[in-house]
Each structure stands twice: as structure tokens, then as C-alpha cells.
């Protein structure tokens, strides 16, 4: 059973809706026992890095997720803030991230200032992606796929092999990351029509 981790922030209904739409089954939970029993995990997220990490820790979920991802090799998909939580840290806050993928979350504003790029923040709207490596999540994506992004922080991978997709907003940034069974997508597949449906469908079919 795919279990969506409930951080009590933001809307999970759309993720549930899309999973059902592609023929999958899922439940929503913040209970460590239920999450331990999951066959696949989804970590959604809206809001701030620190709040989300604190929520995970308060519910004793950090260890469970780490164990599921690294020891049991349970497929895990982080969406938007959920993807950023997979990294080691974020310039948005002070808390440490889950550190499941060697990467860090940085600020668009800071980078734009340094690179003297004049784009508005947050990065909001439909953008293209470039698939950097083929795997089960990216196979058979619809041609010229575009997805809905809304974020003020972006992820930078330490190693190229963890970068699954890139997108461009002033500069190239990682729009999807991967390490073995752990995936992260910066965009919202559940709000990206048929393009997102394909990604969710691929995850459900893993």
C-alpha cells in the first residue's frame, strides 16, 4: 500500500486523487507503525523546511523513513518541499534535512543576486524538463512534458548521478533527483495534468 506521509501542512487530497485516477491504492498517515508497513512512500510538502522537518521529528518519523529508504529499499517519492526534505539542509531554515540524497537546498534569491539574474520569485508556473537519465520514473514520459512548479528554493546535487531531471529558471537547477529507490520531484505531478499522471503512474507501477 502506498502511504502518503501526512505532515499536517498543505493538501494531500490531490495526490490521493491522482493515484486513484491512475489505478493505484493509497492511504494517508502520520503514524510511524503504518508508515513502517508501507510498500511505497510519498512525502509531499508545502510550507517551510524547518516546520516540516520538525513535524517529522515530533512524530518520530525521521528514523522510520530513513530505515525504510536505506535498509528496506522502499521506493520513496518526495514532492516539492518533500524533495527538498530529502537533501541535507536548506537555506530556508536551520534544521537538518533527511540527508537521503547528497544534495543541498539553496535560495533562488541569493543565487539570482550573485549571478545578477533578474527573475521573479517564487518560480511559479509551467516549465519544461530535461531528462538527465532514464529510469523507471522517467520512462515513456509524454513528449515535451511540462510540469507545474511553485517554489522559492531549489536543489543542487553534489553528484551528477543523483540528478534525474533539470529545468531552467535563470539557470539550470535540478527539477528531479534520485538515489536508488529514493526519488524527488520539485514540481507537482498531481497538478500537472497528463504529464504528471505519467510520473505518478510510473511510481505506482514500480
Amino acid at each position: 500500500m502506498i502511504t502518503i506521509i501526512d505532515l499536517n501542512i498543505g493538501n494531500i487530497g490531490s495526490v490521493v486523487n491522482m493515484i486513484k485516477h491512475v489505478g493505484g491504492n493509497c492511504k494517508v498517515s502520520s503514524d510511524p507503525a503504518e508508515i513502517k508497513a508501507a510498500t511505497k512512500l510519498i512525502l509531499p510538502g508545502v510550507g517551510s523546511f524547518d516546520k516540516a522537518m520538525n513535524q517529522l521529528r515530533n512524530n518520530k518519523l525521521e528514523e522510520v523513513i530513513n530505515e525504510k529508504a536505506t535498509l528496506q529499499k522502499t521506493p520513496l517519492l518526495g514532492i516539492c518541499l518533500g524533495m527538498q526534505l530529502l537533501t541535507s539542509s536548506s537555506e530556508e531554515g536551520k534544521e537538518k534535512g533527511l540527508g537521503l540524497i547528497p544534495a543541498e537546498t539553496l535560495s533562488f534569491k541569493k543565487t539570482f543576486d550573485v549571478k545578477e539574474i533578474n527573475e521573479r520569485i517564487p518560480h511559479m508556473g509551467w516549465n519544461d524538463i530535461r531528462v538527465e537519465q532514464e529510469n523507471d520514473l522517467t520512462k515513456n514520459l509524454i513528449e515535451s512534458s511540462r510540469f507545474y512548479f511553485v517554489h522559492s528554493y531549489y536543489v543542487k546535487c553534489s553528484n551528477k548521478e543523483n540528478c534525474l531531471m533539470t529545468s531552467n529558471y535563470g539557470f539550470d537547477f535540478a527539477s528531479a533527483i534520485v538515489k536508488n529507490n529514493v526519488f524527488g520531484v520539485q514540481f507537482h505531478p498531481e497538478k500537472s495534468h497528463k504529464y504528471g499522471k505519467k510520473v505518478i503512474s510510473n511510481f505506482v507501477k514500480l
Binding site: 487530497g13 510550507g47 508556473g125 509551467w126 507545474y148 511553485v150 497538478k191 500537472s192
Partner: protein
């Protein structure tokens, strides 16, 4: 490359969809759930739903209806109308909307936008302002669905909304709304230059040329009403996206 968004803007009145001209004379468009379903089928970029009576009649957002609407969509949704506190905003986000639109609510309590932005992130809040162009060419801000004049000028107010925490600014020209005569380009250009967050232009789109024109002003999105619910100007109701190609 980030694309500019074209967003259908639907007006809700007592569970039905209506369309106004200059915020007046609402005429019936149809069933909101079916219309939203059609727009989802047509794969629109995003959808804005505004309850035009909620603030003036002091009613709460219709959460049941919003739930039904959210379950029809696989694209981002924004809702505005009668949101007065953080609890309501949270509930709307939990139901399945990406963003809440705060307009009248910001004048009475400056805190509202900041509270929502702090709790849910500033990308969840659109700060919205409705503006009339007076006979002499002055811009005046109105709240309460165009019924109440506000003392602040739109350029200051837009900046204020941004500093309060709005992740996007939506500018509606009351004077142009529903007329098919084009956006108020002067107003939009000026405000867009003042803020650093994405801007949604709204009110008056009559053709794809109008939309192109406003995109050249560096707005991030164009919210469109009449063009998407009528066959053409002065003609019958027809939910469509073909007018965007004219």
C-alpha cells in the same frame, strides 16, 4: 523555459457561475462543477475561482462545493471570496486548492496575509486588488466587490501586499472587466514594475492580442473571463479555449 500562464477566472454567486461587466449585472453562465470539469479536460494552466458575494453577504466560503471542485482538477486552483482568517485559508488549502486569494480581507486586518504566508508559505497567497479608472484618469482602489472605496493608491497597496507576504499579486481593472476592450495596460505596467513577485493581470481581455500585449509587460499570468465563457463578444454562453487563438 517558464511559460506565461493563461488562467480562466470564474465568478461564483450562490453556487452558480456568473459573468459581470465592470463588476455589475451578473449574467448566468452555468454549473460550476461541470465548467471546471470542462476546463480540466481542456488542460488549462490553472484556474481561479472568485466568490463575488461572499464578502458582501458576510458568508463563509462554501467548503463542500470547493471540495467537489477540487476533486475535478489536475491543475492548480486558487480561491478567493470571504476569507477572513487563517483557519478558513488552511481549510481551503487542505481541500485541494493551491492558493487563496485575499482581497477585502487585507484591508480590515493587515495581519491576515502575513499569518497565512507564515503558516503555509507565501506561494499560497495571492494578494488581490481591484482598481477603477476614474473619469479624470485617476486610479482608485475598491474593496467589497467594487462597492467600497479605499484610501490607499494601487501602486502603494500592491507593494504593501507584497511586503505583507503575498507570493503573487493579482490586479483587476474594474473598468475593463467584461468589456472585451483589452487590459488596462498602463495600470498593470506600473504595478508590475513596483513589485518583485509574479503578477497576474485581470480584466478586459478580448483577444489573444490583448494577452500578448500584457505578456510583454513582464506579467507572469493573464486571468481571462469573458473570452472563455462566451462564444464571442455579445454572443451565447460557450465554455471554450478557442477564443485564445483569435
Amino acid at each position: 523555459m517558464l511559460r506565461k500562464r493563461i488562467i480562466p477566472c470564474l465568478l461564483l454567486q450562490n453556487e452558480s457561475l456568473v459573468k459581470t461587466i465592470r463588476f455589475k449585472k451578473p449574467s448566468y453562465i452555468g454549473d460550476v462543477i461541470n465548467t471546471v470539469r470542462i476546463f480540466n479536460e481542456l488542460e488549462v494552466d490553472e484556474l481561479i475561482l472568485l466568490d463575488i458575494k461572499a464578502t458582501t453577504s458576510k458568508t463563509e466560503p462554501n467548503f463542500e462545493l470547493l471540495k467537489d471542485i477540487a476533486s475535478e482538477c489536475f491543475m492548480p486552483l486558487a480561491y478567493g471570496g470571504g476569507i477572513k482568517n487563517l483557519e478558513q485559508a488552511k481549510k481551503i488549502i487542505e481541500i485541494g486548492f493551491e492558493k487563496v486569494i485575499i482581497n477585502s480581507g487585507a484591508y480590515s486586518s493587515n495581519d491576515l496575509i502575513t499569518q497565512i504566508a507564515d503558516e503555509l508559505g507565501n506561494q499560497c497567497v495571492i494578494g488581490s486588488l481591484d482598481v477603477k479608472k476614474s473619469f479624470l484618469g485617476n486610479y482608485v482602489v475598491y474593496s467589497n466587490s467594487g462597492n467600497q472605496k479605499e484610501k490607499i493608491n494601487p501602486f502603494q497597496w500592491a507593494k504593501e501586499l507584497e511586503s505583507l507576504g503575498a507570493g503573487e499579486i493579482m490586479i483587476t481593472s474594474i473598468t475593463q472587466e467584461g468589456t472585451w476592450n483589452g487590459f488596462d495596460v498602463e495600470l498593470i505596467e506600473k504595478i508590475t514594475k513596483q513589485v518583485n513577485v509574479p503578477v497576474i493581470a485581470h480584466g478586459g481581455a478580448g483577444s489573444s492580442k490583448d494577452i500578448e500585449e500584457v505578456f510583454c509587460l513582464n506579467v507572469n499570468a493573464a486571468a481571462v473571463g469573458s473570452m472563455l465563457v462566451y462564444q464571442k463578444k455579445g454572443m451565447g454562453v460557450l465554455v471554450n479555449v478557442n477564443n485564445l487563438k483569435r
